[in-house]
């Protein structure tokens, strides 16, 4: 992997070797272990993985929102608009948060402050970053609520989170994120807590808003359906590492990493007749208990002795694809596997 010192101008965000550690009662764990990816301007990158793989933590590192007992290790580099976020002082960092890069969280009932009304929470962003008066900030907030598709925004703006439905609360969160026209949106499972119908509406909303502003988006999700709908490129995470990266259509057409294959096979698909849902045998190991070589080896149908002895590097496959798997170097092993429960 080449380290580079200058950011090509169409790359908005670049993570290099980001590592997050947590000090727990049982010792030091590293839930994010050497993650690197880029996001170009106007592009949506989906970060996919099961719970516990570290994708949400990765999202938090971009704006340095990791609190004690967690820590972003000093070797990590996070380049945003050409500047390394790790080296920024407090004031510069705050200028970026909410203005140039904004986050949308998963559960709006807890992510929104229960004692302030919706309009106030949006207006707060405006007032923090501009010198706008309370009145101006309020009218911008109301306008934004209308822009995200909330009917009667002047009334809704005065309501509190507990008075709004789940879908509306998430629209408020989106409004809060969009109000300062950021160039990067970081959406951490924005629709997971919502009904499927609302999910579709909100994803459309996000996509439209993003395209209208030419913004980029990092979309964290565990749902491959969402990925197919909304992203141009995908990075798959497992046990704190990126195991595969590819353009969306290429990934769905031909996944390279066994974990990705497993995820796709596990997706229930309408129109196919199948008696049983396929699952990946075993469970995700917790951060303290990661195997030293390939972390997926004990659940992988293709694994052989090299996999438990040597950690696979992230191979570059060309056309913007990568895969962290020894199968890249020994593709013939793929056809030698005959384990019970193999992926069909």
């Amino acid at each position: 992997m080449t380290a580079f010192s200058a950011l090509p101008h169409d790359l908005l965000l670049s993570l290099r070797d980001v590592r997050v550690t947590f000090r727990t009662a049982d010792g030091l764990i590293t839930p994010v272990d050497g993650v690197s990816f880029d996001i170009a301007r106007g592009e949506t990158l989906a970060l996919v993985g099961e719970s516990g793989c570290g994708k949400s933590l990765t999202a938090l590192t971009i704006l340095r929102l990791i609190d004690a007992p967690g820590r972003i290790e000093p070797g990590s580099r996070i380049l945003f608009e050409g500047r390394d976020i790790m080296t920024l002082g407090d004031r510069d960092l705050r200028a970026i948060r909410g203005r140039q890069a904004a986050m949308i969280f998963q559960e709006p009932m807890t992510a929104l402050n229960p004692v302030y009304c919706a309009g106030e929470q949006i207006a707060e962003v405006v007032r923090t970053h501009t010198g706008a008066s309370r009145v101006e900030a309020w009218s911008q907030a109301v306008a934004m609520l209308g822009a995200v598709g909330i009917p009667s925004p002047e009334i809704r703006a005065k309501q509190y989170p507990h008075q709004l439905s789940g879908g509306m609360r998430q629209r408020v969160m989106i409004a809060m994120a969009l109000v300062m026209n950021p160039s990067l949106l970081i959406a951490d499972e924005p629709t997971t807590a919502l009904d499927v119908t609302i999910q579709a509406q909100l994803l459309d909303l996000l996509r439209d808003a993003q395209q209208a502003r030419g913004a980029s988006m990092l979309l964290i999700t565990h749902d491959l359906g969402v990925v197919a709908e909304s992203a141009q490129r995908v990075a798959v995470m497992y046990a704190g590492q990126i195991v595969e990266e590819a353009p969306v259509t290429a990934l769905f057409a031909a996944p390279q990493h066994p974990y990705t294959e497993g995820l796709m096979a596990a997706m229930p698909r309408a129109g196919t007749r199948r008696e049983r849902l396929t699952t990946i045998p075993g469970t995700v190991p917790p951060p303290g208990a990661w195997p030293s070589a390939c972390r997926f080896a004990d659940r992988c149908v293709f694994a052989w002795d090299r996999c438990t002895g040597e950690a696979p590097p992230l191979h570059q496959l060309g056309d913007g694809r990568t895969s962290r798997c020894h199968l890249v170097e020994e593709p013939e092993r793929r056809f030698a596997a005959h384990t019970a429960g193999a992926v069909t």
Binding site: T24, P31, S51, G52, G54, S56, L57, G70, P287
Partner: protein, 291 residues
């Protein structure tokens, strides 16, 4: 998701957490020490707590080697009085808390399981009880009873203190009632009594234990206050409160009479508060952030 009620291993984990907490251990040690002291102490004392040794010469003697805490206005040895008074104060507090816990748990269980208007009515009564200043209520009652015997004092303290525990139990019962494991038991045909005793009660016991521990602190101070103004434990029976009361008039000339029992009260209340906090932490450990 509410977990099913505690079983043996769950209590084991709780006890382990408690043992690991230095503050709780210290509190338990102090309490046990105090209890041992007041049980054994009076037996070892050279002077009886009622004995007026030499009222002409030994009244208000300063603390010395023979009288570690000095003597009071009637030349009674203060240390003996404090130790035997401790028996009364601790016994009264713990018994009263037992009574109020039993009443409170029963009331709260009944209300929570009954639901509907019975529940509302029972809780209104508890709310009313909580709204009345306990001290004033006891003042009103004890004003009518000239020389209240200790057993009656204990009963009255217990009868005026169950309201908070009842509300606590009822709210826990309400939250557990709709939990899956209770519904499962009901669908299997468990009678209301069995539900109450076997399924709901263990779940409630943790918070109740914490509340009862803290209540000991409240009651011991309350009894001391009532004895201080003369309507609690009656002389010549000593209790920490009435020893302080005896010493009030002479606070400037013989402060040791009032200060010593007060320090004992502070120690007990501190220990009980620390233990209550420790129990609360042991029952509900903190959780790690979401990854």
């Amino acid at each position: 998701m509410i977990a099913p009620p505690s079983n043996a291993s769950n209590w084991g984990a709780i006890v382990q957490r408690l043992r690991a907490d230095r503050r709780s251990l210290l509190a338990i040690g102090a309490l046990c020490g105090m209890i041992v002291l007041v049980i054994v102490g009076p037996l070892l004392m050279a002077y009886a707590p009622y004995e007026q040794l030499d009222i002409t010469r030994l009244a208000h003697a300063r603390p010395s080697a023979e009288h570690l805490l000095g003597t009071d206005v009637y030349s009674r040895d203060v240390l003996s009085r404090v130790l035997s008074g401790g028996r009364v104060s601790l016994a009264v507090a713990m018994s009263a808390v037992c009574i109020e816990t039993v009443i409170g748990v029963a009331w709260g269980l009944a209300a929570g399981l009954a639901g509907g208007w019975i529940d509302t009515l029972m809780m209104r009564c508890a709310d009313a009880g909580l709204s009345v200043p306990r001290v004033l209520l006891l003042l009103a009652i004890l004003a009518a009873v000239p020389m209240v015997p200790i057993w009656m004092l204990v009963v009255l303290l217990g009868l005026t203190g169950w309201f908070g525990i009842a509300r606590l139990v009822r709210s826990e019962v309400r939250s557990v009632r709709s939990a899956d494991f209770v519904l499962a038991a009901r669908s299997l045909g468990a009678s209301p009594l069995r539900l109450a005793l076997w399924h709901v009660l263990p779940h409630v016991s943790g918070p109740v234990l914490v509340a009862a521990t803290l209540a000991v602190g409240h009651v011991i101070v309350l009894e001391a206050g009532l004895s201080f103004i003369g309507i609690g434990v009656q002389p010549p029976q000593a209790s920490w409160g009435n020893i302080i009361g005896d010493g009030t008039e002479f606070i400037a000339s013989a402060p040791w009479v009032s200060i010593a029992p007060g320090c004992c009260l502070v120690v007990v209340v501190l220990a009980v508060s620390a233990l209550g906090d420790g129990l609360r932490d042991a029952l509900a450990p903190r959780q790690l952030p979401r990854t």
